[in-house]
Symmetry: C2
Subunit: 163 residues, 2 copies
C-alpha cells in the first residue's frame, strides 16, 4: 500500500474477527516500531507481545476500555521508562499501527490508566510503566466499512509562523 494512503486512511478500530496474525506479519509490525526514532536514540520503549488469552485477561481491570485488548488476537503493550514523556511511545505506536493498516489489520490504542494493575499483570519492574496498549486484528465484517469520526479542518488546526 502507498505510504501516504496508508497514513491518511488509517482509522482506529477495535472490532476484529478471530483470524490470527501470522508471525511474519507480527515481525513486520515489530520492525516498524523498532525503526521509529527516539529522543537522542535513547531507545527506552519496550514491547510486550500478548497472544495468550489468560495473560490478556489479566489486563481487563487495568482500564475502562480494555475489552478490545483482551478480545483481539494480538495485543502489544508499549512499556516506557518511568518519568519519560510519551512522545517516543506515540511515534513507535503510530509506526506499528500504520504498518498494520497496510497489511489490512485494524488497530486501536487502549489506555491502561490503572498503572498498578497493569504493572502487576505484566510483571513490570519498578523502573518501567505500561504507557499504552494496542489491539490488533483483522476487521470484523460489520466494521470494515464503518464511518470515520470527524476531524477538524486544516484551517482549524494550523497557525502560520505564530499562534
Amino acid at each position: 500500500m502507498d505510504a501516504y494512503q496508508a497514513i491518511i486512511g488509517k482509522r482506529d478500530r477495535r472490532e476484529y474477527d478471530g483470524k490470527p496474525i501470522s508471525d511474519d506479519v507480527l515481525h513486520r509490525i515489530l520492525q516498524a516500531g523498532r525503526m521509529a526514532g527516539s529522543s537522542s536514540n535513547t531507545q527506552t520503549v519496550r514491547y510486550i507481545v500478548m497472544r495468550d488469552e489468560a495473560a490478556k485477561e489479566k489486563l481487563a481491570p487495568a482500564g475502562p476500555g480494555t475489552a478490545p485488548l483482551v478480545k483481539a488476537p494480538l495485543a502489544i503493550v508499549i512499556v516506557q521508562e518511568r518519568g519519560r514523556r510519551d512522545f517516543d511511545v506515540g511515534r513507535s505506536a503510530q509506526n506499528m499501527m500504520v504498518a498494520a493498516w497496510a497489511e489490512g489489520i485494524h488497530t486501536c490504542p487502549i489506555g491502561l490508566r490503572e498503572e498498578a494493575v497493569a504493572s502487576e499483570a505484566l510483571g513490570l519492574p519498578e523502573t518501567h510503566v505500561a504507557a499504552i496498549g494496542i489491539s490488533f486484528g483483522y476487521p470484523a465484517p460489520s466494521t470494515a466499512a464503518g464511518e470515520s469520526r470527524p476531524r477538524l479542518s486544516i484551517e482549524e488546526l494550523v497557525h502560520y509562523d505564530r499562534w
Copy 2:
C-alpha cells in the same frame, strides 16, 4: 513509496539543502498529521507552520539543539493543551515525518525545552505548550547517504505475554 518501506526506512536527519517545500507537499504533510487518531477523538494538538526566517529565529533560544529548526526551509511546531500526555503528539509527528520521507523530505524532531521562551516566541496562550518542533527539508548532498544510528534488536526490545 510503499508504506512499510517508508516506515522502516525513515531516519531522523537534520541537514538540509535550501530547496523550498511546495504548498502541495506541505498540504499532504499537514493532512498526514491531521488524520492521526487522538485519544477519544479529542484532537487537542495544533500545528504552527513556520517558513518565515525571523519567526524561526525566535525559536533559537528555546533549546540546545534548535539550529536545524531555524535553518530548515520548513519547521512545524506541534502545540498541545497544557497537562496532556505527548502520546497524540508523537502519533501526529510520526505521520507527518513518514509522509515527508515518502516525498524525499528529511525531518528531525527537535525539543523545545525552554517552555517560556517557546511560548513567547510563538505567542501561545497559557492553555497550550509547544510539545515538539520538527524540521523539514530536502537532504543536503553530504547527508543523503549518511549512516544510521544503531537500533536494539527485536530480541532485546520484545517480551512475550509478560516482562
